[in-house]
Symmetry: C2
């Protein structure tokens, strides 16, 4: 590799807390650039999340449809959700899968961990493939409004090509699961 870390790294000089929210916090940091100038960086702090691809024994995939207020649209996604405080990603994956689809997974395999948009947030999503599913008795959260739907790999590929599946974590999860 042709780079030296010191050519790239920014050093933090200061930090101002701007907002503490229910889900995200916001701060503004001052940093020292590699050329000696200073710059500001707006950072959204997020607790991290999981995304799960539930695959049935027939090879189909369960997706969830929900309204996303920030974009003002109902979209199709893989089941997903935020980590609770001190919650392990695997436990979160099983919890969100049950809450959003009603299924428990006897087999859970990690596909990757990824940063959703590292230019302005530290959010990381841990992505799992869930197989050997069985119905769970978990009740969905009463304030979550979600429908779950089963699609074949061929239907999924068509919805990726058409742009109907337009959520980054879902695209990554489906690709890495080999759908």
């Amino acid at each position: 590799m042709s780079f030296s870390e010191t050519d790239l790294i920014e050093k933090q000089l200061g930090s101002t807390r701007l907002f503490e929210g229910k889900i995200i916090n916001l701060r503004r940091d001052e940093v020292l650039l590699p050329n000696g100038k200073t710059a500001t960086r707006e950072v959204v702090e997020h607790p991290g999340a999981v995304a799960v691809i539930p695959r049935t024994k027939e090879g189909n995939v369960i997706l969830v449809r929900q309204f996303r207020h920030p974009i003002g649209k109902i979209i199709l996604e893989v089941p997903a959700g935020k980590l609770d405080p001190d919650e392990k990603p695997e436990a979160c994956a099983l919890r969100e899968l049950a809450e959003e689809t009603g299924f428990f997974a006897n087999r859970l395999r990690k596909l990757t961990s990824m940063y959703t948009t590292p230019g302005f947030t530290n959010e990381v999503i841990h992505v799992y493939l869930a197989e050997d599913l069985e119905e769970s008795d978990k009740q969905p959260d009463e304030d979550e409004f979600i429908t779950s739907e089963v699609y074949s790999p061929e239907q999924i590929r068509q919805m990726i090509a058409s742009g109907e599946i337009c959520d980054a974590k879902s695209l990554v999860a489906l690709c890495l699961a080999g759908i």
Copy 2:
């Protein structure tokens, strides 16, 4: 489909501006849930962005390595950047490609548009495949600290499998380009 839109949609009741930044804004909205309860939604407003996969005539891919302050790490990504005001995504893709890699693309094909993390932001990234590359005389921004590196498809697949490529837009772009 088994759902009714009214079972899912949240209606906005009010909105409070919390922060206006250089790159992002933050607001908190009050919404009416389908069950008649109210809830708050924290929304990060973002101008939108592009991501570009530059593919050489040998079939290799140019990636960029840069420090991302929110995660405190140097990571490998596809070239990408924010839309300037009133800038068309195609123009932004060519601009960012030139600024970050020094190449101009004679052929640009849109792969998809996607939401990076629609639970808390409206950020959309338009993803392009750039081919028929030639050297441009565009100079990089003096306050951008980026190195560009060429990888074969086999190297890329290894770095996806190992988790070294861990940026969502890059994973989506590489998957959709068939790398």
